[in-house]
């Protein structure tokens, strides 16, 4: 790049990022506020974290959410990787339909997805609960997983896999031993994204969940409606910390590989 950023460019970037991060910073800072009031700084305190870990309902919701997240993200990543392979390489009939389904899921308002999935479960006579939320989240996040893996697969050198096949490797094995390790960072990123989206979803979970399967966003939502509760700041800070650590770890691993000129280039 020959021309550097102008002062206007720098100002736009700084202001844009400040806008994105200010609320998050405020949330984290106030999770350590001794005072219940949001505008009063009552000194540093971890009392909301203590209160959080004594809130059995909240902890229960965290546990449900994590289980739904892990299961649905895994399902979505497997299905999404398959879909990505098919979309990038396939010249099969129905390719347009598959791509159409994936992109439509991506932008579909969640209320519509939630309502339609609920009607499916009611029509099938499935009791609503843990499994219906998990299946619904897999459906939502499958599209995101597909897009992430697809982007990586599109630039992956296919000759390597073909070379393996020429040397007598069966196609599925060539894929598993050559291509899959190469696109592993993207598959990991797809899983993380699917997991985060599942962790985050209120609308679809509200429609498709049942008794005993209240997720964290559902619990948070009912708390938020009742008014500001500093415990929410505490649980949010923990979630932000968890996700940020994961994302940054994946990013740094990829950077290091890139630096070494490894397969993740």
């Amino acid at each position: 790049m020959k021309r550097g950023p102008s002062p206007f460019n720098i100002a736009s970037v700084v202001l844009g990022l400040a806008f994105l991060y200010a609320p998050i910073v405020i949330l984290v800072v106030y999770s350590f506020n001794a005072s219940r009031l949001v505008t009063v700084w009552g000194g540093f305190s971890t009392r909301w974290y203590v209160a959080l870990f004594q809130d059995a309902q909240m902890l229960d919701a965290v546990w449900v959410t994590l289980r739904v997240g892990v299961l649905s993200a895994t399902l979505a990543t497997v299905l999404g990787t398959l879909a990505a392979v098919a979309l990038v390489r396939g010249g099969f009939r129905g390719r347009t339909a598959l791509a159409g389904g994936v992109y439509a899921t991506l932008v579909m308002p969640e209320v519509i997805l939630g309502l339609s999935l609920l009607l499916l479960f009611v029509a099938a006579g499935l009791p609503r609960g843990f499994w219906t939320v998990t299946l619904s989240h897999s459906t939502l996040t499958l599209a995101y997983a597909t897009v992430v893996v697809q982007a990586r697969l599109a630039t992956f050198d296919r000759n390597l896999e073909e070379a393996a096949q020429d040397l007598g490797c069966p196609p599925w094995k060539a894929f598993a031993l050559v291509t899959l390790p190469g696109i592993a960072p993207a598959v990991a990123a797809a899983w993380m994204l699917a997991f985060t989206l599942s962790l985050d979803d209120l609308v679809i979970a509200s429609f498709t969940s049942g008794p005993g399967a209240t997720t964290l966003p559902m619990r948070l939502y009912s708390q938020v409606r009742l008014g500001v509760d500093p415990k929410i700041n505490a649980v949010s800070t923990l979630l932000i910390g968890l996700v940020a650590t994961g994302v940054i770890a994946v990013y740094l691993t990829q950077q290091r590989r890139r630096g070494r000129g490894g397969p993740g280039k």
């Binding site: 806008f19 949001v38 994936v102 009607l119 499958l142 949010s236």
Partner: protein, 294 residues
Amino acid sequence: MKGGKSGLAAILPFLWLALFFAFPFLLVAKLSFSDTALAMPPYAPRIDWSQGLAGLQAFFAALDGETYARLTRDRLYLDAYLSSLRIAATGTGLLLLIGYPLAYGISRCPPAVRQALVMAVILPFWTSFLIRIYAWIAILKPAGILNAALGALGLPPVDILNTETAVLLGLVYAYLPFMVLPLYAVLEKQDESLIEAAQDLGATPLQAFWRVTFPLSLPGAAAGALLCFIPMAGEFVIPDLLGGSETLMLGRVIWTEFFANRDWPAASAVAIVLLATLVVPILLFEREQGKVLR
């Protein structure tokens, strides 16, 4: 996996989407022609399979457009429809205004910095959406942080929580990464020598931007606009938490009909109307995405 066999990989995801994505829309459509009933699930008619074909015929005979007629009689639905589209369109416009300079600024930075900045734009998206919107309540409420800051500067307080302004603010905030990323993708790929050529031919930097950079970035702007507009038109959480009772949007109407009024046919009919409105933008979005793939 040679060409023909990769079709095999499509089977599972294909069946999954057919069962959990496409088929349920038929159920929503069917339900929108049903009536409410005091039963669980709260709608009628239901197919009576014990009657065989006659049961099926009776079922189809009992479907009618009454729910849609009900929607047109109540002003509330029309208002919600129009304000959903207005708010989503305004939000998309604001996102373009704010997202463009940000994406452009990032694309002008040195490559190493660019990477980190893109990461910084994506990172908030990984943190809970609900929580980020919740943070805005603490900022915007009458005794909140914004008014404390304004007071410290000697400015009069503002009361924007529970207004459309707050909803727009929340939408712009939540969807900004979705606007910036497609814009950045096209701006980053742009050939620097085009700008140099324009300037060699006597264009000022501003002219070069307007005549070269901007037109070439329009596909990215279109992708970003669609990626934001479509889900925003059906958004529920943001109008619900920041909009108060006065902001009507279709996502909220569907939610209320379903959860509060237990009127499943009305919720379905509103969903069908919203879906019908979004079909064209969704198809446009798919065409744009298809181009990116090739």
